[in-house]
């Protein structure tokens, strides 16, 4: 069903003619996000500039019966911004101002279209720090980060987006504008309404202003790269570090397949016969950093790290982190289609999970490189395949299913940071249980009775 000329006229009336687009080219360019093999063209695209406009678009959607898909830069990895049937894509990138950095209360007030990395750049000018650093931070918008409750490499020590949201302005699916939260660290007036919207994947409201918590910027950092002959040794090093009450800011790993791809691509001298590489970083006060790094090195040695490289300066630290930062690039080059997953398990189960993924790869004759966040158990099994090969894609799906089931069995989750969106819908009930899913559905019905906001995402 396409939108009626009358609806289009009204949309143009709300956002202004140049901010309404519906040519075949525009519809193609807003049919996808960063998720592999998912796409559907929207009926139109609106570029909004205020909460008021969003409110009016949503009221019209309720009156005329079309769906609205909120979208930032379109870097979602679970199809969360791929349009459903009869949908208008609502793009927030033009609402991109940082409204305030408050050094006295350590907060930032921003619009949803601000790029994540810009917030930290601006905070840095005040000696402050916005820690959440999803892989796409240079292009992802903070509105999208809030909607997806995005994680990143620093999750173990600093937490995720939710831990930094103090307050929100939200347009509800029916068009009302709501404000919640304050600059106060302590605020227990009623339900924590803001938490309802964080991670709601754009199904419960459109965030139009975000009040973020900032923290003091760490002054020192130390980087260590350890190589192992077995993933279990690497996993035990991680457990020993945590047991020693050290919380590193980075604890990242690469598996064998990823190491080989990285070496082939970046040529940085990684040993091709290694089973695991662990990248460890600690940050904070200079003296503490030195002491923690020394203890981490000692623990790595005791757990049979066969090689340890310790960065002497920033330049060398950069070099060491290259191995981890090139992981995705190196893998993405290997095959035409790259599917990045984010099954997550308690960190004590990580070695078991990685071994299981390697077995699944062998069983289904697939190439899967796994890397990710060892400290918080968030894995990125990356499937290297070709979407034109239908038979191979079937094997990919079969392997997915087994991996998700195993993650659930180990007390983990089907998605650590990418969201459910369209891609993981079929696994949600099994993971969350019927009661939990019923509650989610009831919430959705209450806030969005006509089902206009990002329809078809998370659950049907």
């Amino acid at each position: 069903m396409s939108l009626s000329p009358d609806t289009m006229r009204r949309l143009a009336g709300i956002v202004g003619t140049p901010n309404l687009q519906y040519s075949p080219e525009e519809r193609i360019a807003y049919s996808y996000d960063a998720t592999a093999m998912l796409g559907r063209q929207p009926e139109a695209i609106v570029f909004v500039e205020s909460a008021q406009q969003i409110s009016e678009v949503l009221k019209l959607a309720n009156a005329d019966g079309f769906g609205v898909v909120p979208r930032g830069s379109g870097t979602n990895l679970s199809g969360g911004t791929v349009p459903g049937e009869s949908c208008v894509v609502l793009v927030t990138v033009k609402m991109n101002r940082i409204l305030e950095i408050d050094s006295r209360n350590l907060t930032a007030l921003v619009q949803p279209g601000v790029l994540t990395a810009k917030i930290d750049e601006e905070a840095a000018k005040h000696g402050l720090f916005y820690p959440p650093d999803p892989g796409s931070m240079r292009i992802s918008t903070i509105g999208g980060n809030v909607a997806e409750n995005s994680g990143g490499l620093r999750g173990l020590k600093y937490g995720v987006t939710r831990d930094y949201v103090l307050g929100l302005e939200v347009v509800l699916p029916t068009g009302e504008i709501l404000r919640c939260g304050t600059k106060c660290v302590k605020d227990v007036a009623g339900y924590s309404v803001k938490d309802l919207f964080i991670g709601s994947e754009g199904t419960l409201g459109v965030v139009t202003e975000i009040l973020l918590k900032l923290v003091p910027r760490p002054v020192a950092r130390k980087t260590v790269l350890a190589t192992y002959d077995s993933m279990t040794d690497a996993a035990e090093t991680v457990s020993a570090i945590i047991a020693a009450k050290i919380i590193p800011c980075t604890l990242e790993f690469l598996d064998r397949t990823t190491i080989r791809c990285v070496e082939e691509y970046a040529k940085i001298g990684l040993p091709l016969d290694a089973e695991a590489i662990l990248l460890m970083e600690t940050d904070g006060h200079a003296a503490v950093v030195e002491e923690e790094a020394a203890r981490m090195i000692d623990l790595a040695k005791r757990h049979h790290a066969r090689n340890l490289r310790i960065a002497k300066d920033l330049a060398e630290a950069e070099q060491l982190t290259t191995a981890r930062r090139s992981a995705f690039s190196a893998l993405a080059r290997v095959a035409p289609t790259t599917i990045l997953e984010d099954a997550t398990v308690p960190r004590s189960e990580l070695a078991t999970m990685i071994a299981f993924i390697q077995q699944a790869a062998a069983k289904y004759k697939l190439k899967i490189g796994t890397f990710g966040h060892f400290g918080d158990g968030n894995l990125h099994p990356t499937f290297l395949c070709d979407e034109r090969n239908k038979e191979e894609i079937e094997r990919v799906h079969a392997a997915f299913r087994e991996i998700f089931e195993k993650a659930i069995a180990l007390g983990g989750t089907i998605t650590g940071e990418h969201g459910v969106g369209l891609a993981k819908k079929e696994f949600l009930e099994q993971f969350a249980g019927k009661t939990s899913l019923d509650l989610m559905r009831a919430l959705k019905r209450t806030l969005d009775p006509n089902h206009v906001l990002n329809p078809g995402k998370i659950f049907d």
Binding site: E26, A29, D33, K94
Partner: protein, 435 residues
């Protein structure tokens, strides 16, 4: 042949002929978006590399006709700066895709019009196709610039023509072949034997840069051959939808340069070098092209590779000469050459290199983009000149004739007292003891 602008629609489109895995390699992650100058301005997905690739793929899939005006416009709104290739985690070959897409646009006739067809026929297919023609026209321009004829009449020109006059480079008094002998040998023992590409714009507007390049090569023990029969590298045509003509010119150069007797073919123009290193893609069936791609070497890259001869300390100056470096897109993105020119400048005694903010952001020159898309080009130039002004330098060094012309034009427009030179010119001066 390429002289017919439109072709029947029954033939399979060029994008369909392109290996599909090239289009498919894009994983639409969006990492290219913040590095794309046109996305930065418009915030429209259709004006981003990811969006353009989606449109190209739609054409290849038959879901979009290539003769749509918006498809054509977006393909030509792209600067071709290739910043997206640097940012791309998946190694997408955007350069090849955009060339195919533009050729497809030309075949479809979406942008065809009497005026545009005439300009393309004259400029791309006639003027630049033979170096003799370009030099002939350049001599006329030189005469005009020296006599001030069109300057006197310029008030009578329409605004568009006046704007064009403002960005035309000053034609050099002598062209490259007047300044460089066919073979020049170093006075020191010969370490290498190289050939020099003199280029088109470089040749008629900045021939002294070619002389400087030869001087620097001689100072570094290289014998330099400058074949007289060499022609345009084909980049201008390749970048503007005339792939067949580009192929013809590439083949001509393969015939002219004696590959087997050369250690390198030296290029001092970023745009030419970037294109010439991809002859293998352009001519997949010519076995010489693969060897050629490996032999082509940018001057900065070459000097870093052979280890430049040390320079004499300069005569004492009260203050160091402050120089900033603007990265030509087709050096930093097209050829991944970024540190070598900086190291070269730092090695010159008496020079202090000041980092330019956003050094790798396009200046808006982009081949003939400053002629075809003046608005966007000027916006980018203004952004570049603001950063240059903030550095407070006396000299801007950059390794591409297009950028030199564009930034000189910017200096004039914004009243900035700076010199804009090729890095090799500073180095040549240093070797000659003139700095």
């Amino acid at each position: 042949m390429s002289s017919t602008p439109a072709k029947s629609s029954t033939e399979p489109g060029l994008l369909r002929q392109l290996d599909y895995s090239v289009l498919q390699q894009c994983i639409h992650c969006g990492m290219c978006l913040p590095t794309c100058p046109t996305y930065d301005v418009t915030k429209h997905e259709t004006s981003s590399p990811r969006g353009r690739i989606a449109l190209m793929r739609a054409v290849a899939d038959g879901k979009l006709t290539p003769n749509s005006a918006q498809f054509a416009d977006e393909m030509y709104f792209c600067l071709g700066c290739l910043a997206c290739e640097t940012a791309c985690p998946a190694g997408v070959n955007y350069a090849e895709m955009i060339e195919f897409a533009r050729a497809e646009v030309e075949l479809s006739g979406a942008k065809a019009g009497a005026k545009r067809n005439l300009i393309r026929a004259v400029a791309l297919r006639w003027l630049f196709a033979k170096p003799g023609r370009l030099r002939f026209v350049a001599r006329l321009m030189r005469m005009d610039q020296r006599t001030g004829l069109s300057a006197a009449l310029s008030r009578l020109f329409p605004k568009r023509l006046r704007d064009l006059r403002a960005i035309q480079p000053r034609i050099a008094g002598k062209f490259s072949f007047d300044l460089i002998r066919e073979t020049e040998s170093p006075t020191t023992p010969r370490r290498h034997r190289v050939a020099l590409l003199t280029g088109c714009v470089q040749d008629v507007a900045y021939a002294s840069v070619n002389r400087d390049t030869v001087d620097v090569l001689l100072a570094n023990g290289c014998e330099v051959v400058t074949p007289r029969a060499q022609g345009c590298c084909g980049s201008l045509m390749g970048h503007n939808g005339e792939l067949e003509l580009a192929r013809r010119l590439a083949r001509q150069n393969l015939d002219v340069f004696p590959l087997e007797n050369l250690d390198a073919i030296i290029v001092n123009s970023a745009g030419c070098g970037s294109f010439m290193k991809r002859y293998g893609h352009l001519l997949p069936d010519d076995p010489r092209a693969k060897v050629w791609d490996k032999t082509v070497c940018d001057i900065h890259e070459w000097l870093a590779k052979i280890g430049p001869q040390p320079l004499r300390p300069s005569s004492p100056r009260p203050h160091p000469l402050k120089v900033t470096y603007h990265e030509a897109c087709h050096l930093v993105h097209g050829q991944r050459i970024s540190q070598q020119p900086r190291e070269m400048l730092r090695a010159i005694p008496g020079v202090e290199l000041v980092e330019l903010p956003e050094a790798a952001w396009c200046c808006g020159s982009a081949g003939i983009y400053n002629i075809t898309q003046p608005e966007m080009s000027m916006a980018l130039l203004e952004r570049k000149m603001k950063h240059i002004a903030a550095t407070g330098v006396a000299v801007v060094a950059t390794g591409n004739p297009g950028c030199i012309g564009q930034i000189r034009c910017g200096a004039q427009k914004f009243g900035l007292k700076i010199e804009v030179v090729h890095p090799v010119t500073l180095l040549a001066k240093a070797y000659r003891g003139e700095l």
